[in-house]
Symmetry: C2
Subunit: 441 residues, 2 copies
């Protein structure tokens, strides 16, 4: 009757039945099911019942969030922050490792693995930390994370309750403040000077249960936490039974002497959660970092990690393990440091030759960025806008302050420049461009 094949009809009935649009009554026949009418599309402006608390994350100045996202995408440009010399990435070695690994048909690694990450990689990271950082830890303490950010979030979510208070460097790393603000905890900013966090001010904040610090290279000031203050901070954590998150996101980039001993290496009372990352030696999009957890917290971390992402992706972990075990990493990380040093010097020299009137550039002894202080907000925003209109990315220092910071009204404005991610000629060209862009008002 319908001039379609029997199969078509059978399939149609099967689908209708599966979807529940028809019902069959044994020995009787097939009937259209009684269904609720579909609800009408909703009206624009109708409320969705989202609570204001959802917006906790927005406690952080939306500007800084937005700004961070905008300037980080696409190919590297002068003077992007947080980007290493990825033009030196060993693409061929990496491609070879990946395809070799896959041609071995690694079925043992393709299922649900250990929530802390691939055992081989955790072994290698423990070795690396022992040799490169003097940080002795057991592989069982290492949790592979999605970059430093997941480590910060897991630590905070596990150790803090919404009513808790934390200590954070001010100015601070925007994404750490973002993680805390998502959890709704109270952030207490403590000023940073040339010796890092002013530990003497810890007494101001008796209720603090956790302190977030970046001792080897504070973001964005670049200050190194002095040994005296490292010990003061540890003493504080021990006495208050508080926790310390030590974010060592770019500790490999030290240009004079060897990297400093991490807090975690001198901590005697298991209060320090050490966070490292491969983002700055490999590439940020790798999203591979690690957390060294105090032994007494490991189980809780694994539970939290399991429930938030189960385990880290396997492929990059295995490639990273091969990259480490075959000695590529050590070689590459030396190469990256040399390149960053070269590019730092090129910027320093060109800047002070052509742009010293904006502000004298100081030599930084670690990290991938340098900061120029400015007198006021208007100047900061104008210079950054003019630079951006020429395709040059500069990050405003003003975006790094906690909302409502009273201290450091002076020196809260400035330019943060990443010097590592483009070649020397591009750095010189960018300085040249800025010279003209900033000449016209």
């Amino acid at each position: 009757m319908l001039e379609v094949s029997r199969n078509t009809v059978v399939n149609a009935y099967e689908r209708l039945f599966a979807e529940g649009f028809i019902e069959t009554r044994i020995g009787d026949g097939t009937y259209v099911a009684q269904l609720h009418a579909l609800s009408k599309p909703m009206q624009p402006g109708e409320s969705f019942g989202i609570e204001p608390q959802l917006h906790l994350g927005f406690r952080l100045p939306a500007a800084s969030l937005f700004n961070q996202h905008r300037i980080h995408e696409g190919a590297p440009k002068a003077f992007r922050i947080g980007m290493p010399a990825i033009d030196l990435f060993p693409f061929d070695d990496w491609a070879r490792l990946q395809s070799r690994f896959w041609r071995r048909e690694p079925v043992d690694h393709m299922g649900y693995g250990h929530p802390a990450g691939e055992p081989q990689l955790r072994e290698l990271i423990a070795q690396y930390l022992r040799h490169a950082r003097g940080l002795k830890c057991d592989p069982s303490q290492i949790v592979i994370t999605l970059g430093a950010q997941q480590a910060i979030m897991i630590c905070s979510a596990l150790l803090l309750h919404p009513e808790d208070e934390v200590v954070i460097e001010n100015p601070c790393y925007w994404a750490a403040a973002g993680a805390f603000s998502c959890l709704g905890v109270k952030m207490n900013g403590i000023a940073v000077d040339n010796d890092g966090l002013q530990t003497s001010q810890l007494q101001r904040i008796p209720k603090a249960r956790l302190a977030y610090v970046s001792p080897s290279c504070q973001y964005p000031t670049g200050a190194t936490l002095s040994m005296a203050r490292r010990l003061e901070l540890l003493k504080w954590a021990e006495e208050k039974k508080s926790w310390i998150i030590e974010d060592d996101y770019d500790g490999e980039y030290r240009y004079s002497g060897t990297p400093l001993t991490p807090l975690a290496a001198i901590d005697q009372s298991n209060r320090v959660l050490y966070i490292g990352s491969f983002s700055k030696v490999m590439y940020p999009g790798l999203r591979l970092g690690y957390l060294v957890a105090p032994k007494q917290l490991v189980d809780q971390f694994l539970l939290m990690r399991t429930m938030s992402t189960r385990q880290p992706p396997m492929n990059d972990q295995m490639a990273m393990a091969l990259f480490l075990s075959e000695g590529h990493f050590q070689k590459h990380s030396r190469r990256m440091r040399r390149a960053a040093l070269l590019r730092r010097d090129a910027l320093l020299q060109a800047w002070n030759q052509h742009l010293s009137h904006i502000g004298e550039m100081q030599q930084v002894s670690s990290g991938l960025h340098v900061t120029i202080r400015l007198a006021n907000f208007v100047t900061e925003q104008r210079l950054i806008a003019q630079a951006l209109s020429e395709g040059i990315e500069i990050t405003p220092l003003s975006a790094s302050w906690l909302p409502g910071s009273s201290e450091a009204q002076t020196g809260r404005y400035g330019l943060v420049l990443g010097f590592a991610c483009v070649k020397v000629p591009d750095i010189l060209r960018a300085v040249e461009t800025l010279k003209y862009a900033w000449a016209q008002r």
Copy 2:
């Protein structure tokens, strides 16, 4: 005097100075810095100030968590759950895609990218959902996640407050219950029958702000949510202004007719958060899933995602995008479904021939696992222990119930068997083994 070279001494001083162990006074000399004494190692048994609330995750029977972790590691074995036929993974294609991608030196993708994930992949997923699921969505609604688990956690963390209540299928997927319990929300279990979640019981829970369901193949019962109940559930969410998390973790595995229309495709009022995953067609260790967020929630999701992991790892996303765009995925997913069907039938036939006295095995029309009900806990645990001693992994149904479930005292015990991850001969051998293992008491 020390019989070491001048450089050695200079380096030693430099290091001591950098570490802050010595201080230099201009025009005066170098002095040992005054430092706090290092604190002594802490005593065993000393408290670390961990609150009981840290153990929220343990509200879920620790047994089921532990059990899940143990049996999921290493090479596939009969009858592991949640594992597809990874022996059919196209290793060479995958290896070729990876190395081709890397040899192109993809510097544009190696930095900090979009927090929602790689735009190309999100485009392709939107297309896939339109064709394979009849789910029309804009790529801007798609957030790439670390498997379904991160999607579940982000949704819950964003939409729920600790005092909130949720509805969850009972028996349930342990890791979803785990995510909710980590957040401390009250879980209300609703029983599942052959038509899926008993939506009539939703009225029992007036305060529920969210319902977590797996409509196309409920875990662990394998039930499909009928169309009548899909509409009831949507009506409930619309009236109560509640949310629905639709976990479509293995919707590709439908053995009769085409996959059912997801809730998200018939939702008229933007209350459904649709979760999909590549774990079951590719491999679980890939940790690549996606969330289709209602338009009005996208911004909050991106903020939450940024603060919890910034962005998903780039490498696997790009490989997956190539795998999809070059048509490998569609081919592979058909192949995986055929294999799973073949293995399902082999198990069904062998089981009912040799082990029907344990319990008759029913034919499942979707998913990767089948459930055999048992009379009591003792039998369940004995059979599973005997199987495990022969190296055969079987998951206890009893581990899938919410703590303190009153309903369904009958049929709460049983065996959950995954049939997809080993070849037919291995399935037959395993059934053979069980036959003898279970014969002796």
